[in-house]
Symmetry: D2
Subunit: 377 residues, 4 copies
């Protein structure tokens, strides 16, 4: 089968590789109808991780079940399914408690596993024609048959739940105001989630005009941090009043004044959130970043305004999204026509176009913001 394979920094190719097989009674094989390129794939693509050549990318996958193991009891061949990017076993303490992003069994020595990602366990990615899904009854979310809502459903694998998760981590309640730092796909999904959940005001902070336009189109208030300090702009719009919640959809490669300043979003959030408010951090921070801007950043340490944070009595919730905790309800909102997250999708391509798409997405040119691959098209 064809698969998108990592070759070396700034280079992926489409190769012919062996099809996956059932390796365990609880496995299923899925013929991939849609798989997405994620911003976090670019970390590997750019060579800023320990990813080795040969890895098949792709952790946002959906398709049709073509084969099931002897232990699979819920899924049937022919079922249409979407898989969370996390791989979970379904019976460790964390999975049982709903923390499927922190499964302690699928990736020994670590809490959490995923498809097609360095250090996340032995699970080839889904930017390929077929995908092996372990503990398939647990990991695959069933979808209505057919092809309707394909792009919306594909986003259930990661970014829609991840944006929603960021809002939840902040402690958000309906009627509150919230500032979303970052207008990329996850940031837009966070802004969209806050709106769907009854936010009174949503501020979307970025500097890319297309992103700010998308944010505005769904009802958020765009804030361009290249024009002036984002916090000052928000305070001015609100007559000096801070917001209730903030979400960091940027992560450790945040920039300010044209250069990488890893703590800049965190500092801004502590400034803009009112006393007793909350902060959600779905944006990636890593404990080891060889490309970090200073020795502390290389080890995942940041200067944090803990004094102010404490004085305001703030809280922070962090971590990768437990996709299964949200994907069922979000699927139902899509089916009912209440949510259409696919507004973020910029391109849909065949698998042979993937190498070029990676390059353009990495350079953020030609409007490449969210790319969906149809490997069997």
């Amino acid at each position: 089968m064809k698969a998108v394979v990592y070759e070396k920094p700034f280079s992926v190719t489409v190769k012919t590789v062996p099809e996956p097989k059932i390796l365990h009674p609880n496995d299923a094989i899925v013929k991939v109808t849609t798989t997405c390129i994620c911003g976090s794939d670019l970390h590997m693509y750019e060579g800023r991780t320990a990813a080795e050549p040969g890895i098949i990318f792709g952790h946002e996958n959906m398709g049709i079940v073509t084969e099931i193991g002897a232990g699979v009891s819920r899924l049937k061949v022919g079922d249409r399914v979407v898989m969370p990017f996390n791989v979970g076993c379904g019976h460790c303490r964390n999975c049982e408690a709903g923390y499927t992003a922190f499964c302690t069994e699928v990736n020994p020595g670590f809490a959490g596993g995923a498809y097609g990602y360095v250090a996340m366990g032995p699970y080839p990615g889904g930017q390929a024609q077929y995908l092996r899904v372990p503990w398939a009854d647990f990991n695959a979310l069933s979808l209505p048959p057919g092809t309707e809502h394909e792009a919306d459903f594909a986003l259930l694998a990661d970014i829609f739940p991840t944006g929603w998760h960021g809002v939840s981590l902040s402690g958000f309640q309906p009627g509150e105001s919230i500032a979303i730092f970052g207008g990329g796909p996850v940031g837009l999904m966070a802004a969209y989630s806050a709106i769907l959940r009854g936010a009174s005001e949503v501020y979307s902070i970025d500097r890319v005009p297309e992103r700010l336009a998308k944010a505005q189109s769904i009802g958020a208030i765009p804030i361009n941090f290249d024009k002036a300090d984002a916090v000052e702009q928000i305070l001015q719009l609100r007559h000096g009043e801070m917001v209730d919640r903030a979400v960091d959809a940027v992560g450790y490669q945040a920039v300010s004044g044209g250069k990488e300043v890893p703590n800049t979003v965190l500092v801004s959030m502590v400034r803009v959130v009112r006393a007793t408010g909350g902060i959600g951090v779905p944006g990636l921070y890593v404990p080891s970043d060889p490309g970090g801007v200073d020795p502390h950043a290389k080890e995942g340490y940041l200067m944090f305004p803990f004094g102010k944070f404490f004085e305001k009595g703030l809280s922070i919730g962090t971590g990768q999204c437990n996709v299964k905790h949200y994907n069922r309800q979000l699927r139902d909102m899509i089916i009912a026509g209440r949510a259409t997250p696919s507004f973020v999708v910029s391109h849909e391509i065949r698998i042979d176009e993937a190498p070029a798409a990676y390059e353009k997405f990495d350079k953020r040119i030609e409007g490449y913001t969210k790319v969906l691959i149809h490997p069997n098209a």
Copy 2:
């Protein structure tokens, strides 16, 4: 000043009565700009309560502060405010815990007080030109100056928070499906709240075409229980699948097959909610109803399907709405343009028109569903 005064069953008049005065340092006097007629006023109007002649009606009140007591520190003369229908002291155990509908101090011997309502304490109603507000710093919600959103804000006194409360009592979470029994003002507000909070599907059950049309206009699915059993209709639409939550916005005077059957909504909810789901009951049930259909109903007892309720592992939350728990966020949603509850308002009148409006509202004629009085217009 002019006030709407209860005379006898099926008769209210507009009388000249003394203006209220500051009786306690924490009081304020409010010049009423808008006050609403509530369905629960009709219980008194129809003579089905112990209300004595002379009581001034009106528990949904907003206006402008004209005078404050020596202990009032937050409010200022000229402030525009809306008052929850509940009167709370702000320092009893229940008020402190947010249960302001169950204040143990304002109405000795009972948990809960209100304006203009029999047995709810010594607080004249606001269907009058002026209103005395006790513990005014605690009870009055501040509004932006001016006259914008007047009708929306007036609904913050009772029905918008009460509908929202019903949804909360059911344990509702975004993405879930919910059935709202009753399409009167509170039922419509409950349906609207569920939609604002991200429901996937909202079913609105009534038999009055105008109400069902209103429900449909905001995105709910109308179910006319005169055409067929409501539960069967919902199950059919959902291919046999039950809903996650239900709300009873009808109460003890529920009808079925053309006659009063006090437990009919409760039974339907236990049928239509799936195992592990939840039920919210903002609709009024009373422990003493002399007009009840049988000796049990007269004492507030109902036949309840407890066996099925337990087998499904359901939960029920009940009680009058703690308006202060919700009114601030709902106000902010109105200001931000995200909520416009005034779509339920059918008539806005001068105080002299109140007697006629009561009569028409009681007879449910000429489209009288939600009437706002402007006593100083």
Copy 3:
């Protein structure tokens, strides 16, 4: 192997039956070291259910894994485990959300399955030398090797979590007061749970002196409802103040004044709980009870004081215990020496003694309150 088999009303025998086998890759076989007789076994024993002769009893089981299916990845042969009485699949919507008592897959057409119980699915009980455990990685809780805490751990299968669940269903918070109706094994576990979780006052209501003495021995305040109305006694002790929470550990066969009065505990709870409080009902209520005291009771309907319940703004949570939601933490409390639920155990016997023990337990004679069987001793 030997097993306790139901013969006819008031008769079980120990028979030799075939040993269970692995039927599915996710099964495990457990050699039973301890299994308990539960009060709910008596419903079948007394012939008040549709249980057919031949059923092997026993839903409270622990032992040693002797064989695993090809799909089992966490458990190993030799592991010491205790099984929740519920059988769950681990991947249906309810299991995923932690509602393992309402699994929709293990018992088609119903939400919930269990071992050795009529209508709860095709799962023979564990009052036998061996037990088949489906979805074993999900259903078996691992225990420290050895034989320490055997009796305490055995109670993790049902009654300790069930008592804890009742307290949770009531909405209990540390520092609150609570009334537990029923001083049988589940009632005592509820009282014990409330004490472990920081209750200020726990009232334990029963009429059996031994049970009341047990309750007192763990720090609860015993209330003998044969001496005077239980609610009146509690109010008198509290100078008229009601309690925050109540738990019904009695169920539908409640008695009052010497005869079965199915709603008596529910009515008492609504009386004794203060406005805004909560009620938890782990005690069994059934939608069909051919032996019920009247036509309504036969269909699971009860006269419920809904008017008073609403006026007080109370909530009720019900349903069988989702054992997996609690058993891990309770196990850790036992290991750390903080919890010793085995104080309720009255007898430990060999399997051959089971028929006699059933008879005495059913007659409540010779102090038979909680019996543990060691089938391989």
Copy 4:
């Protein structure tokens, strides 16, 4: 009246000052029976704050109401009361939501007020014979008449609720394990709270033998960080398994290896808490510390291991304790004999002994750990 007055660094005196008077209708005057010296008083005593000479210390106060303003309706002269250290208005957004430590009205320009503390508003302290209590109905917790439990009740003003709050901020649930950093009065109260709430294991980390002995006496496991790295010790005791929760009861003046290392406790907590766990920080951190060890610390910035924190999906809750959120239930636990926090009290003195006690407490000599002053004894 006599009062403990700040003179200059390392010096307080007992002076005669004017008695407080009713300044507002909602005020009450309390004759102080007990007031405590708090560790945070030492910040002012040591001259590490902007406190001016003349300030009356004392934010942990209880006594008897001797006078009430015209607006006070709940309290009566003669009532025995204990005041939270926070002063709240009872009607701002934060007070209404239960965040009484962040009142926006009592201390303009800041969220939060307190008695007898620099920058916390115009509220003289209670280390004096009389105290003015603003919004007395809201701020004073009623106690049973008499003198019973005096020392226990005095601790309701601050440290018992603050320790309890720390445990709550960590997201703790019954049955979990928790590490409490710091064995001073607040740390001991946190350990005690965790035990009262059903912790399986509580680790208490300090290096003062008396504190570790106290911790052990209530059932905690003492960890002396002078002997070896605290995290390593805990992991060794737990066979490599991390704990569920951690609490920082130390704050920004944390020491390690004999010198001040402001982030040392935070770093240790991120190491010792397992993925998906939580951290509570009641220990004080300040946004401006002129005595800080480096330029960052002077402005309240700390090096925080955000990468590891995120990878583990941890959460942090912080801030001063909202005493009113807890003091009622804790009072009830004391009355019922379930909690006896006074085990931490080392000395009870007359007001004239206060200067000497401050000196010894500051030097941590002669066992001075928690000192209670009886100003009218």
